[in-house]
Symmetry: D5
């Protein structure tokens, strides 16, 4: 089941740079683990913004919230979620 997820990152300028670097490193590892598991199907950078557009493939709303709220950058992100359905014109079932 697919969801379009848009994440805007807003890290406060007063946060310790070493801590920020550590959080970003964990975020990258976590994101790549989910990508390898096939749950975080796509992640693209929005040109000119510290933001991404992603597509998640999960079994339920609950699973999606569990994955997103465990993001190391979760406390510093504004996230919006759109549930997706198969489109009648699509040549694939995804």
């Amino acid at each position: 089941m697919l969801y379009l997820v848009e994440m805007i990152v807003q890290i406060p300028h007063t946060l310790d740079p070493a801590l920020v670097a550590k959080i970003k490193q964990k975020e990258k590892e976590y994101s790549q683990k989910l990508q390898r598991e096939g749950k975080w199907r796509h992640i693209w950078r929005v040109v000119g913004e510290y933001a991404n557009v992603s597509v998640f493939d999960v079994a339920s709303n609950d699973e999606l919230h569990a994955l997103l709220s465990a993001l190391p950058l979760f406390p510093y992100m504004q996230i919006s979620v759109k549930p997706l359905a198969n489109h009648p014109s699509s040549i694939v079932q995804e």
Copy 2:
């Protein structure tokens, strides 16, 4: 080169139903042709809306506008475009 494209369809209620059916049929064929060519990489339905979220893969801004403005439903759609870039956390180059 990838772009996130969101299309909201708003067909006036006064349009002839036969004409509408014909336009929708052409739209489907046109969309599937572009999907088979690999230019319209993804198309998903937004749940609850007469709208889609799509990803296009084209060579230039000009090519994208040419493709979108040739959509049979173009006069009846509100389209927004976000250019996408490779994300440093992505495990694939896309």
Copy 3:
């Protein structure tokens, strides 16, 4: 799996009143059928508006879109959907 669905009804004033009455009657029957099946769990009127707030309980995003796009009033409604998850403070699992 639960979703908050908000529907705003906007019927064009030029539509034939007899047709409108028929669509509304079908809408009511369709809504009550889904309520009895447990898929349309709640429907409330928003005070002062021709709109409702609803909670749907379905197996997937695709099922939700199928149900909503089959609403007799679908062509005349603006619908927004928020996927819901279990809240850690909730005393029930719903």
Copy 4:
């Protein structure tokens, strides 16, 4: 009498973590007490957000404000309230 209440939590990053943990614990207890009393009828997590969608069942506007403004997280939340009425298509009176 029912109300749809949406709460978005925004805790300043500079707040003492021990204090935050204590407030959240009190919030949970307070919420569960109101749920057991039947006044906080539903609470759901909005997927991807530190936010909830709730339904309250109270005797008056004044009672609702008293309950909401006593939330331990009240100073850190943005709350919006929509009064609800019985919907003519509903198969239950709620």
Copy 5:
């Protein structure tokens, strides 16, 4: 129980002027009846707009919706409702 109600009137230009005059006459009578009953406590014109700001005093959300949806101009108005509570600084209980 008090509610702030804001009504914006938008009558389609294609409506028959005689019909419009009749609806407006009924609206006035209906409004004055509710004012005399003490349910429509205040009605003011918003300067420069075909709109009003009103205060209603009713027993429940359901009663308020019943009163508003019976307004002769209801199909041509955009209405927003804010539930009000007693303010701790108010020198009267209202």
Copy 6:
């Protein structure tokens, strides 16, 4: 001459609590003085928000600004003002 005034209070979390308590006490006294003088005709709490909806009765725009900008909480409030006129359907002249 009447004005609808909406005030949203946003006190920074870093302000000294003793100072805040003092400002709120002064605000209450100031508000009640203006109410007794008939200039601050109504004040209601917006349910669920640290905000109020008020009606002022003053001789001029200048007087209204003088009263509002002297509010002890003025530096911490977002205020919006709508001038009101007599409504042709009103059964009173106010």
Copy 7:
């Protein structure tokens, strides 16, 4: 007493051109009469828009609404009003 008034004109394309020309002629005469009386103190065109920014000088909110609602183009305009007060840095009292 001064007010900033912004008017956006939106004449439906289906209105009879002769009628439109007549309304515009009346609008101009009415506007110039109020300007000569000193009540419509300034009127400027917003560059690129069928809109104006105006300053009115009237005795009361009621007078302003009476003047604006009598505009021949009133049914086809979206008007917003901001009450103005003397600015402490102004070198004139206006």
Copy 8:
């Protein structure tokens, strides 16, 4: 003197196609005349929209409004204007 001008075209679907074609032809000729005169310095298509982003170089606000309001498509466009100034980092004076 430069201005950023954004134009969104919204032609009503009920307009006669022959008339529309004629207006568009005149629009093109008018635009190209102004471009050759150096007054309409740039015109670009916004990808995916029936809209353009333009830069005008004129002697005054009045001249800009005269040019824009004479556009054959002016009655069918939503136009927004931003005055531009020389940027201190620019390597040219324009």
Copy 9:
């Protein structure tokens, strides 16, 4: 050449009050100097807000930006600018 300029002042609460007082004093002197020179033609207070509506009369976009960016409060203001043109109904040329 005239421009409508709206300025909203937002001074951070953490700024030193003595510094704030000094900046405001300079702002007043600067504003009055420009008013005496005829460049800052009008300045009005927006009722209930720490904001003003102004009209500037300058020779060019560049001059306007130079004047505005030199405002002592410039770093603490949100400014929006609308270029104005002569209105065909105006009885004066301004």
Copy 10:
């Protein structure tokens, strides 16, 4: 390939002025280098704002993001990007 890029600068007031001056100096040098290379084709100041409107000419979305995210002021800017295409009425190919 052209893009309209709008940048709004928001430097926190708590940042060290010496650091800010250094960042701005680097920003200017970086901007002028890109202008000389023909990649940052235009940069204009938005009148009255600490913001610019720019046109970039780059080979791809990825190149544009690389250039923008390397801006010394990037962490303190809000950037929006619109892809541009050749306009059929343009007398030049750009």
